[in-house]
């Protein structure tokens, strides 16, 4: 765990440092008196970032000074596989929403999950994904008039 802890703290410090650099002009109270209330827009984020860098630095030092790490990063042998099995399709689904819209993706994603991970028979898979997709459509698009992303096929005849 230790190398990951160190890396995480380091990344957080880098984020804070970048933010401090970006807002450095507002770090000190405005001496010219032109800024309203004496503080410029950068003051709050600069000192938030400074606090973040300081605390993350302390976490880093504490981790480095602690003993050698015990325990592995992922629980169980299948841990990573299970996680990836979730992350990859989810990423594909969300990215493809740009072209396929919400409703088509909803049906396909649901079907993928039920078939590949749930091993349900096809009639169930097809039925459930259509019901979920149509259900969302009726509830949001028609019921509450909340438009969700549409596919590139969207037209007068294809309402999704």
């Amino acid at each position: 765990m230790r190398p990951y802890q160190v890396a995480t703290a380091a990344v957080l410090i880098v984020i804070a440092a970048v933010a401090m650099f970006d807002t450095r002009s507002g770090a000190l109270p405005d001496p010219t008196g032109r800024a309203p209330g004496g503080l410029r827009g950068g003051w709050y984020p600069f000192w938030s970032a400074a606090l973040m860098a300081g605390a993350a630095g302390a976490v880093l030092v504490k981790t480095l000074r602690s003993g050698p790490s015990t325990g592995s990063l992922f629980s169980g042998a299948g841990g990573v596989r299970h996680m990836l099995l979730l992350v990859v399709p989810m990423t594909v689904a969300i990215v493809s929403m740009v072209w396929l819209g919400f409703y088509l993706v909803a049906a396909l994603y649901m079907a993928f999950f039920m078939k590949v991970l749930g091993k349900y028979p096809w009639p169930w898979v097809v039925g459930a994904s259509i019901i979920v997709s149509v259900g969302f459509f009726v509830l949001f698009e028609k019921g509450f008039l909340v438009p969700l992303p549409k596919s590139i096929f969207y037209s007068d005849t294809i309402p999704f």
Partner: protein
């Protein structure tokens, strides 16, 4: 005694068949809106505003406001369900329920109890708040107006301070996350001067980082990923089969047991709701922090502690009720939803403010009556539906997981109609998963992100008012007291930490053991 007579009249008004019907319709709609992520009580009220014009036009203002207020009461209840069952906030004010509500539902396998606790707390908070509303409307509203930016900043500081101690295991990591949240909140235009900051030339970042998709990602998706890794795919939740009355009895028993703690948090919530521009969300966070700070079993918080559900929920509902008070009494809305309801009052030809109490007595007391009746209706519906709702947790993993992901997408997209918010969900889902793994607490990050902008605004408004002198934070007795309490709360974990270290070092020296 005058108030009691008026209240009786108000209750009678809201129990008239048509008013009761409108109130029930409002509550049911509000429940649905609250449960669906991405649809807020504010937008629900706004959508139905045109409809109320026709109702008010027929000469029945009370029925019109009953419909709108009913949506608000329903949404305060409904947001609970999505938070507890899916770990996705149904409403901003139910974010605090993610911390303990979901763990109780999932890890302890008690979704029925978690829901019932939240509903009982809602009813408790609302009824206590309504009582305060009934008897002290006018003086409280005037006191609220004496709260300036300095006092408000102190209140926000208190909320942050109580949350730093949230993770007793590692206060340093809490501070990192709190500061990270403040930093994320600052991205985009500076709300006071309009200068862009931290956007690195990206136009998309100018509007800031919206907290709804971030929260959905960190909690909803992050948890889905974490549980996939921990328990593997294809498992079915083990749940206690007993649902219903037993949970209700246990909830009431817990409420009675923690009555004073709950009452204090309800009053805090009500007061924060009364303050202009705050509302239920900060109230729920502050109460969560306070409840944890004064709990004997701090380590249970975040793992399904009942008080972690009761306190923020009672507070949120009390704040929801409280936010209507300055609107009615002074014409200053206490929350965004109250502002929309106030727009309704104007459209119907009513002038909110002190005169409303004398000129439209029936209307005001009808509205106050609807607070009691509306919450009782919402509570009855929710408790009856709890076994059904809780059974959602038994849906097999391969069906519920894609469903949660899709709901998360809708919640993020519907709030702004921007696909980029859906990507934010994905990115923060992975960040949340990682931070959880590295044992960084997520609650301080979310709270700081939600309250960051407001706290900065109040700080700078106070300084503008004082011409830049920081002494403004101690310029009035109220500000001085609040500020001192906030600073003391901040120093508390530091002192505890130092004390622990000292005693540990002494013990180590005594035992003469090598350093850990």
């Amino acid at each position: 005694m005058d108030a009691l007579g008026n209240l009786a009249g108000g209750l009678a008004t809201s129990l008239e068949p048509f008013n009761l019907l409108m109130l029930t319709v409002g509550v049911v709609l509000g429940l649905v809106i609250g449960i669906l992520p991405g649809l807020g009580g504010t937008s629900g009220v706004a959508i139905l505003l045109p409809v109320t014009v026709f109702i008010a036009g027929s000469g029945n203002d009370t029925a019109a406001v009953a419909l709108l207020a009913g949506i608000y009461w329903g949404a305060l209840f409904g947001g609970v369900v999505t938070s507890i069952l899916f770990n996705i906030p149904g409403e901003p004010w139910s974010v605090a329920l993610l911390f303990d509500g979901y763990p109780m539902a999932k890890r302890l396998g008690r979704p029925g109890l978690a829901l019932t606790l939240a509903f009982v707390a809602s009813l408790f908070g609302a009824i206590v708040a309504a009582t305060l509303f009934t008897f002290f409307a006018q003086p409280l509203a005037e006191l609220a107006l004496s709260f300036g930016p300095a006092e408000l900043f102190a209140v926000f500081l208190m909320a942050f301070a109580t949350l730093v101690g949230l993770e007793s295991e590692n206060p340093l990591k809490s501070i990192v996350m709190l500061a990270f949240g403040l930093l994320l909140a600052a991205v985009g235009f500076d709300s006071l001067t309009g200068e862009p900051r931290l956007n690195f030339g990206q136009i998309d970042l100018l509007s800031g980082i919206p907290f709804i998709p971030v929260t959905i990602g960190l909690f909803g998706i992050g948890e889905v990923l974490a549980s996939a890794e921990e328990s593997g795919i294809g498992f079915i939740e083990k749940l206690s089969a007993k649902l219903g009355l037993k949970d209700l009895r246990e909830s009431i028993r817990l409420v009675v047991k923690r009555f004073w703690m709950l009452l204090v948090n309800t009053v805090i919530g009500f007061w924060i709701g009364v303050l202009p521009g705050t509302g239920a969300t900060p109230a729920s966070f502050l109460s969560y922090g306070v409840a944890r700070q004064y709990s004997k079993n701090k380590e249970n918080f975040g793992r399904g502690e009942p008080v972690g559900i009761l306190a923020p929920q009672a507070s949120a509902n009390a704040a929801g009720v409280g936010s209507l008070l300055p609107m009615i009494a002074l014409g200053v809305p206490g929350s965004p939803t109250a502002a929309v309801i106030m727009a309704g009052l104007f459209i119907w030809g009513l002038q909110p403010g002190p005169l409303l109490f004398t000129e439209h007595k029936d209307f005001v007391w009808g509205l106050i009556g609807s607070i009691y009746i509306g919450h009782i209706i919402a509570f009855a519906i929710c408790v009856l539906a709890t076994p059904l709702l809780a059974s959602i947790m038994r849906i097999p993993y391969a069906i519920i997981t894609p469903f949660i992901v899709l709901i998360s997408v809708i919640g993020a997209y519907a709030a702004s109609n921007q696909i980029k918010d859906v990507f934010i969900v994905l990115v923060f889902g992975i960040i949340g998963y990682w931070l959880r793994k590295m044992r960084y607490p997520l609650a301080p990050l979310v709270v700081a992100l939600v309250l960051g902008d407001q706290s900065e605004e109040e700080l700078r408004k106070a300084l503008i008012g004082s011409g830049g002198s920081p002494l403004v934070f101690f310029s009035t007795p109220m500000a001085g007291i609040l500020m001192t309490v906030a600073i003391a709360l901040f120093l508390l974990p530091v002192l505890q930490f130092a004390y622990r270290r000292m005693t540990r070092a002494r013990a180590r020296d005594a035992a003469d053991e090598p350093a850990e």
